[in-house]
Symmetry: C2
Subunit: 295 residues, 2 copies
């Protein structure tokens, strides 16, 4: 059973699964495990690791349209180098501060492989779920895609400074809260744009739902153009690589202007909710995302 | 830097650290990472692993005197065997149900070593911290100690059924809530009784605080007598081994009767808060606990 099948199986049995966070009364709660071989390329420093790991959980809070309250992290490593632990905590605190949340600590565990489990807590009375898209809605994303793919390439090219810079991101909590009155369905883009669109379609109760998007409307991060020479690699980075932590969402098309006004992060309309499957420029868009190494 | 030094260092820099949970408004939040080589002896089944891992975080909620609301777990393993994942989730759900909390899901991660990170959320307006012990208070524990030491021995002896049974425990959430009006300081006994007493003394703002406990008052689990033949091994199991998840707490001595009446779990008074260090039967009790293998 691969990770995706196993997650789908869990979603069937657990009331809170299937969204970016579980909903518990007026709170949302999410947890993620990241580890060295699959999530932190060689060159990622502990400051960036703390920022990114905690940021990934805060992004899940953002995807529910919730205010971010707090985060914790469990840090497993072969050695507890004081400088490394301090750097990790500094990154964790700074990403929390960037979204008005508090980093409130965690656990340390001696582990053969650098492994981090992060948890974030958010608050909302009216969470935005994945399942609310309806025909006629606009399909949108915040910010720009492909930044993490560019970061991984920078690490591969030995430019760790640039890689670390690109690997840190601001979770879209403020945008998620601003979109709360408008969005009908929302998730983050950590699995890649293509797979996110498929997931929003699958989560909807509306039968025969689809999305039609236009490739030239998909916002691509400047770093992608810097780092990748050919068009195919740029396309892969923006559409499929994922790990970008932007928000992918739908909203009634007459609410786009108000949502744009309200959101502190730029919003791009990339298409519409239609019939029967996900298409880009009229062709089926494969339900394919980033596969972690080793899967 | 060992795990303890590193945790102490973190506690100095993080506002929420130093108690069993971080306090976030009217919520408490805690996370723990457990993994195969140090936390799950050979023979632990996935049902027990799910129960115990989630239970460990719920025990931290109990130690704050909070109501338990919800828990999540990140599950890392080399393979996602459907039966194993289901068993883990069943254990996680059942331990949550035992304390009126809800298991709301988690994350799956492909990992070389079986690794679990659990997080629990609780609610209280008035958390019980570690730092409130004062001279004249009674020193108490819930239930009985040594059960986990007995479980590990059962696993070593090849009696996995007995080991698994002893490894599952009911987190003391109901007792923690019942003790909220009375307890001046509280933590769970996961680091062992001796170390817990030292930690309660260190956390107090009162200078020259101490505790005097009487060994014969320390409640020892029946399984310890079953499994260990000699007195020294039994003593080690009850005082130092830890991983037992009972509550260790202090309260004014005139509140003991009311607390006993209120708590659904039996309470044993094992000594008093006094002057200058932790002693048992007049002799200094070493600040020593269970050291995980490999540290």
């Amino acid at each position: 059973m691969d990770e995706r099948e196993a997650l789908a199986r869990l979603a069937d049995t657990l009331p809170g699964a299937g969204d970016d966070c579980a909903v518990v009364g007026d709170r949302v709660l999410t947890t993620d495990m990241l580890h060295e071989t699959t999530d932190f390329p060689a060159g990622v420093d502990r400051y960036t690791a703390g920022w990114r790991a905690v940021g990934a959980s805060l992004s899940d809070v953002a995807a529910m349209g919730a205010d971010a309250e707090a985060a914790v992290a469990a840090y497993g490593a072969p050695e507890f180098d004081p400088g490394e632990v301090d750097d990790f905590v500094r990154g964790a605190r700074e990403v929390c501060a960037a979204v008005d949340a508090e980093y409130v600590g965690g656990d340390l565990d001696r582990h053969d492989e650098f492994t981090v489990a992060t948890t974030a807590l958010g608050e909302t009375d009216d969470p935005i779920r994945r399942g609310g898209a309806d025909r006629g809605d606009a399909v949108c994303v915040t910010g720009a895609l492909g930044r993490s793919a560019a970061a991984v390439r920078a690490f591969e090219d030995g430019d760790a400074e640039r890689g670390n810079e690109l690997f840190r991101f601001t979770p879209r909590v403020a945008a998620g809260v601003a979109l709360r009155p408008y969005a009908t369905a929302m998730m983050d883009s950590s699995d890649g744009l293509a797979r996110s669109l498929h997931q929003l379609v699958e989560a909807s109760d509306v039968s025969d739902l689809g999305m039609d998007i236009t490739e030239s409307y998909v916002p691509v991060d400047d770093a992608v153009r810097e780092v990748f020479d050919d068009a195919e690699a740029r396309r892969e980075a923006a559409l499929f690589f994922g790990e970008d932590f932007e928000l992918v969402f739908t909203l009634p098309s007459d609410a786009v202007d108000d949502a744009r006004e309200a959101s502190p992060t730029p919003i791009s309309v990339i298409g519409n909710v239609t019939w029967d499957g996900v298409r880009m420029d009229g062709e089926p868009l494969p339900d394919r995302g980033y596969e972690h190494a080793g899967e």
